[in-house]
């Protein structure tokens, strides 16, 4: 249940950002969650909703954007994005794939009304 700790940090960060930027009402929060982090989207959403109930963020809806793992072949340039690392190239068979991403935990947007 690392979703609890992540939801707590998330609500705290959103609150701080909204305050810094003078946003009175946040209606949506877009958060990129790397697929390697094994976060259950519905759990994160439910805990977040519970945490913000009765606060200024009560009306904010969580939108979870999947952060896929990027595997790229440095030899032929083939690239794929998936839920876990791909370690051999589907095009040239090379085993020297360069893997990145999949660990993100980033707030990518806030929605407000004007």
């Amino acid at each position: 249940m690392h979703e609890t700790a992540i939801a707590e940090s998330l609500a705290g960060r959103v609150e701080a950002i909204a305050r810094e930027r003078g946003l009175k009402r946040v209606t949506a929060v877009g958060v990129r969650v790397g697929m390697l982090r094994a976060v259950v989207d519905s759990t994160l959403t439910a805990i977040y909703a519970e945490l913000v109930r009765g606060t200024d963020l009560e009306d904010s809806r969580l939108e979870i954007l999947p952060g896929r793992v990027r595997s790229r072949c440095p030899e032929c340039g083939w690239e794929t994005r998936s839920s876990r690392p791909v370690l051999s190239c589907a095009r040239c068979g090379s085993g020297k794939m360069v893997v990145s991403g999949g660990r993100e935990l980033l707030i990518e947007f806030l929605e407000t009304e004007e």
Partner: protein, 223 residues
């Protein structure tokens, strides 16, 4: 009045404060020349046993300190104190992993000047602890034979984050029908570079290699 939704784009780290605290822990360990290792594995994988196994083998001149993370109880602390290991217990309550802030307060209480190797035993769990940097030098993934040979495939993040995997309870390989071939194949499909140390805490087999690996981390830190 109809209100328009306005989307404000940004890139803000969710775990910003956790990352800051972890970085401060890392600086603190570096200043004190302490090698800090975050030991992660399932409940019952043998994390505490692996610490007990090295306590007598780590060698004179290497001060050992342990931070024990558990939801509740001081059972592991007592096990370590009984063999003369300096240890401190953190009870996380409902928390399924140690947080960098918990480790920061434990570091306040530890006599770091007397310690060269700090083993941080995380809460028994293969998922959550892999998600949080505590400020350690490296993560150690502990798995044990009775858990099955499929753990690297099921919990890839830990095996991607770790600097070494320890396969414990190798004395049970035949009894459990554990396939070494499958284990190594799954591991290689996640992290082909990851070294593995096979240990049986019960028979003591492999404990020397495990202790040597830890001593090398201490040496690296002293340079």
């Amino acid at each position: 009045m109809i209100k328009n939704a306005v989307r404000i784009k940004m890139k803000e780290e969710v775990l910003r404060s956790e990352k800051k605290i972890a970085a401060a822990n890392r600086r603190r360990l570096r200043r004190a020349a302490v090698a800090g290792l975050n030991i992660i594995g399932s409940p019952g994988a043998g994390k505490t046993s692996l610490i007990e196994a090295v306590a007598g083998r780590i060698g004179k001149g290497v001060g050992l300190g342990v931070i024990e993370g558990d939801l509740a109880s001081d059972l592991d602390l007592r096990r370590l104190n009984a063999i003369g290991v300096r240890a401190l217990q953190i009870n996380t309550g409902r928390g399924c992993h140690l947080s960098p802030a918990m480790v920061a307060s434990a570091l306040e209480e530890m006599p770091l000047e007397e310690i060269d190797l700090l083993l941080i035993e995380n809460v028994g769990n293969l998922v959550c602890p892999a998600n949080f940097d505590l400020g350690e030098d490296a993560k150690v993934a502990v798995c044990s034979v009775p858990e099955g040979d499929d753990k690297p495939a099921k919990y890839p993040l830990l095996f991607l984050e770790a600097a070494v995997a320890v396969l414990n309870k190798t004395d049970l390989i035949a009894a459990c029908g554990f396939s070494r071939r499958r284990f190594y194949r799954e591991l290689k499909s996640v992290n082909p570079e990851l070294p593995v140390i096979e240990v049986s805490c019960r028979s003591g087999k492999g404990a020397v290699s495990w202790a040597r690996w830890l001593r090398n981390r201490v040496k690296e830190k002293r340079i």
